[in-house]
């Protein structure tokens, strides 16, 4: 369980800026401002950062705390983009404020609701939380990776997110574009889903790249006669 310390907003931002996977472009706070100096002192006092001359580096606890901050920020972006359909600069700005409101525990709820997304809308990785490892399932998810659906569940494609360009291009070309209606038909040995009138088979890795905005009843459809209990436990990744 992550140990989290209550921090001021500026301190949180500073901490997030030190997160190793943060883009270099992240706006650096003005080192001369009073609030920054106070924030640094606050972080040092709580043992989250160490000063090496002018540069700051994260301590071990600082690293976990920073991961939590980054996670909340990126989840907030995902929530705004996928559920509330807010995009562009407005989303980033809102997400920044939103993030501070997501306290410990709540971020896992949202992560579960969004189907444990792995990247933010900008393509940066979201640090996984304990809920991702457990593969926790929400009572009513809004967005879910195709790999976590049960046969009969479906909706429309929300977005694709893949580390591999060619996989994404291929899926797009085969008709898996955002907004396309999608229903999972079968999970094992490979995943089979219907995309309009097309039927496609993919492996679990590829299914994980497809995120579905659920529109049908979340309850899986009545099991047809052909399906024996081959729904595997949703493995966490």
């Amino acid at each position: 369980m992550r140990e989290e310390v209550a921090l001021s907003d500026v301190a949180e931002e500073l901490l997030a800026g030190l997160w190793p996977e943060q883009e270099a472009a992240a706006a650096a706070p003005d080192p001369k401002s009073v609030s920054t100096r106070e924030a640094v002192e606050e972080l040092q006092a709580k043992g989250l950062v160490e000063a090496n001359g002018p540069a700051l580096s994260l301590t071990a606890t600082g690293l976990t705390t920073a991961a939590g901050v980054v996670r909340r920020e990126r989840l907030a972006e995902r929530l705004l983009a996928d559920v509330l359909n807010v995009s562009g600069a407005l989303a980033t700005e809102t997400a920044c404020r939103f993030e501070h409101l997501l306290r410990r525990g709540l971020d896992d709820e949202i992560c579960t609701l969004l189907g444990h997304p792995r990247v933010c809308p900008h393509g940066s990785p979201i640090p996984p939380g304990p809920c991702c490892a457990e593969g926790a399932q929400a009572a009513a998810k809004v967005v879910s990776s195709l790999a976590d659906l049960s046969p009969g569940q479906g909706g429309v494609i929300a977005y694709l997110q893949s580390q591999r360009r060619e996989v994404m291009s291929r899926l797009l070309a085969m008709g898996a574009t955002p907004g396309a209606p999608i229903v999972l038909r079968q999970r094992f040995p490979s995943l089979v889903f219907a995309l309009g009138h097309t039927e496609l088979a993919v492996d679990e890795e590829t299914a994980r790249d497809i995120y579905v905005r659920l529109t049908r009843a979340s309850k899986p459809a009545r099991q047809s006669r052909l399906r024996l209990g081959f729904r595997r436990r949703h493995g966490g990744r």
Partner: protein, 675 residues
């Protein structure tokens, strides 16, 4: 030694052009050029066959056309030169097939592009039509497989579609010839002007399109807008083309692409595809009405679902193997056809030929070339036509039935998990199953695999552990009375297949491949299509492979004359003895080098003579199955993968095959297994 001259003769016979300047078929270009374009598995090749009366290979799975077919068609007074392209999901070249198709569009300057589309998937298909229009090409849209679409409750308002797209649209069911007259009359009319539909992309992309368009000076055959869009999606093959023609603009080009990419969280290919799809969806919404699909799934759907079921799919697979392979190839072809033809040759053809040739050529050295122990007639022709050809034909027939039914993609999806373990994806079942017919042809078909790593592993496994139908036929024939022996043989070969694949996946660098495949509906194969396809494959086999039988006879004759052969057999003798096999087996192995199935066929002879049976027979079968690929396969391997790979594969297989044979003999003898 190269097979190209044969291919040239074949091209002449089948009316295909080889592309050279002096080609007698090239002629002056007085006709219109028509390029067929479309996604995989929409029936381009069926339309091609309907138009030209020629034959291009048609299958019910994506990626059948790996080579470009050309033919001629006469519609009214217009002569059409028709080019069939490998299926492409978009103009971008993501796979080898798509690279070929992109090159054709860039280089051939077609007068008309016929976009063949599956009517069921109108919205998805229209995204490609839009892309072709963007490229400034004169497009005719053919909504094919209309019969299936109607059964699925899809209705398309053609006039509305024509209005929205600004180009001629025709609906066909090419397999049954419906709508082909209307298509022909459209093609006889003057080529349509470029269509009017346009996509507007996000402003940043539009600006980048403008800048790239200004940068490009050379003429690439497509509109600047389409080229710019491809380059923005980092299309490697087009970028290489630009680099070779206008190297000075490449750095600025890359800079624009990089800058534009930075504006989006998603890759540009995603941004562009989404914008294009929106337009396609709007058009489709205006032209398409969807009635409620029939509630009760039809027989084809139920069977299709059964075939993909992890439990019920297995009996179906067993049934396919039993009826197709065991009864069809094993019993019918190996038992009945081979038996009859062998008797015919042994009793009538060979003796007559021997008498005839020895009269005509009274010099023993020369007559031996034709009718000696390794003579071209008594050995080459006999093996080719009496043993191998019936088996291969039977297998190709079964394979064609499987292909056209749409069963193979379902098999692919069933085995994907297992295949991942051996470094392949489910897609590899297509070449591997074909390998059970002819490993040489299957090595060519490994092109359908997406990564170099997969192609290499598949090539290796085909060479090592996939017996071809000639071998299979002989083995099933020999071991059918020894069920235990057959089980041991199958078990060992299958274990070697999995084990060596597993090792190859560990050793070879590169990431795990992904699996994604469209599952076509199960269709009842059309008998004509199955027969024509089988005939085409058999003809390919007869023209490309059988000459090598004759060549092998010549080589064996030379070997025999110079005593080189006897030397090699003597050299193999200790190895053969170590495996517990009689002397005669050494000869069979040497034969096996000239043709894999030769080796098995020779064992057939040896077995008939009673020199080998029981444990040694099984050991010999396993060894000869794993043993080096035949000459034809080696040549194709060299052509497709290069010399180093071909030699490395052979160098691994040789000791491996004998090692497995040695161990098997040791185990069977020490366990005192009676077969």
């Amino acid at each position: 030694m190269t097979v190209r001259p044969l291919a040239y003769v074949r091209d002449l016979l089948t009316g295909r052009q080889c592309g050279c300047e002096t080609c007698p078929l090239a002629g002056a270009r007085t006709s219109r050029k028509l390029i067929l374009f479309g996604s995989p598995n929409v029936g381009k090749s069926v339309v091609f066959n309907q138009l030209t009366g020629a034959y291009a290979v048609v299958s019910n799975y994506p990626g059948t056309t790996v080579e470009v077919s050309r033919g001629r068609a006469q519609v009214r007074e217009v002569a059409l030169e028709v080019v069939d392209t490998p299926g492409a999901y978009s103009l971008a070249a993501l796979s080898d097939d798509e690279r070929v198709t992109q090159e054709l569009l860039l280089e051939e300057r077609p007068d008309v592009v016929l976009h063949v589309a599956d009517a069921k998937h109108l919205a998805r298909m229209l995204a490609m039509t839009v892309q072709l229009v963007e490229a400034g090409l004169p497009v005719v849209l053919d909504l094919n497989i209309m019969d299936e679409a109607e059964r699925a409750g899809v209705q398309v308002d053609l006039p509305a579609l024509e209005r929205e797209l600004g180009l001629p649209v025709v609906a066909t069911a090419a397999a049954s010839g419906v709508g082909m007259d209307r298509l022909r009359s459209l093609l006889a009319a003057p080529p349509p002007p470029p269509g009017g539909v346009a996509v507007s992309y996000p402003e940043v992309v539009e600006r980048a399109i403008g800048r790239v368009g200004e940068l490009l000076q050379a003429d690439y055959g497509l509109s600047r807008r389409a080229l710019a869009l491809l380059l923005l999606q980092r299309d490697e093959s087009l970028r290489a083309r630009v680099q070779s023609r206008e190297p000075e603009i490449v750095s600025e080009l890359d800079w624009i692409v990089g800058e534009t990419e930075a504006c989006f969280a998603q890759p540009l290919s995603f941004v562009i595809a989404v914008a294009r799809q929106q337009v396609a969806d709007q058009i489709s919404a205006k032209a398409l009405t969807q009635r409620a699909a029939p509630l009760r799934p039809g027989l084809s759907e139920t069977l299709g679902r059964l075939a993909m079921h992890p439990v019920y799919g297995l009996p179906l697979l067993v049934a396919v193997v039993y009826f197709g392979l065991y009864l069809g190839v094993g019993k019918l072809a190996a038992g009945v056809a081979v038996e009859t033809l062998e008797t015919l040759f042994a009793q009538h053809v060979s003796p007559v030929a021997t008498v005839f040739v020895t009269r005509l050529l009274p010099w023993p050295v020369a007559s031996k070339l034709l009718v000696g122990d390794y003579g071209m007639l008594t050995l080459g022709v006999r093996y080719a036509f009496a043993i191998v050809l019936p088996l291969v034909t039977a297998f190709f027939l079964m394979f064609a039935l499987l292909e056209d039914s749409g069963y193979l993609p379902r098999l692919a999806m069933l085995v994907d998990r297992v295949f991942k373990r051996i470094g392949l994806s489910g897609r590899a079942v297509i070449p591997l199953v074909l390998g059970l017919g002819c490993d040489t042809m299957a090595t060519l078909v490994t092109r359908v695999l997406e990564t170099r790593r997969e192609r290499l592993i598949a090539t290796f496994l085909l060479a090592l552990a996939v017996p071809c139908s000639a071998q299979l036929g002989v083995i099933l024939g020999l071991l059918s009375t020894h069920p235990v022996g057959l089980a041991i043989w199958a078990g060992v070969v299958f274990a070697v297949f999995l084990f060596s694949g597993f090792l190859a996946a560990r050793v070879l660098p590169g990431g795990e491949s992904r699996f994604y495949l469209e599952i076509p509906p199960l269709r009842l194969p059309s008998p004509r299509n199955v027969l024509v396809k089988t005939w085409n494959r058999v003809r390919w086999y007869a023209l490309e492979v059988i000459p090598l039988f004759l060549l092998a006879s010549v080589l064996l004759w030379i070997g025999d004359l110079t005593h080189l052969f006897r030397l090699l057999v003597a050299g193999l003798q200790p190895v053969v003895h170590a495996l517990g096999l009689p002397d005669a087996a050494a000869e069979a192995f040497l034969f096996g080098f000239f043709r894999r199935d030769y080796g098995a066929a020779r064992l057939f002879d040896v077995h008939g003579g009673g020199a080998i049976s029981g444990v040694p027979l099984v050991v010999a079968m396993v060894t000869v199955t794993l043993f080096v690929p035949c000459i034809a396969q080696l040549m194709v391997m060299q052509k497709e993968r290069g010399w180093r790979t071909a030699l490395a594969v052979t160098a691994i297989i040789f000791p491996f095959a004998f090692g497995v044979g040695y161990l098997l003999n040791l185990v069977l003898v020490s366990l005192r297994v009676q077969i």
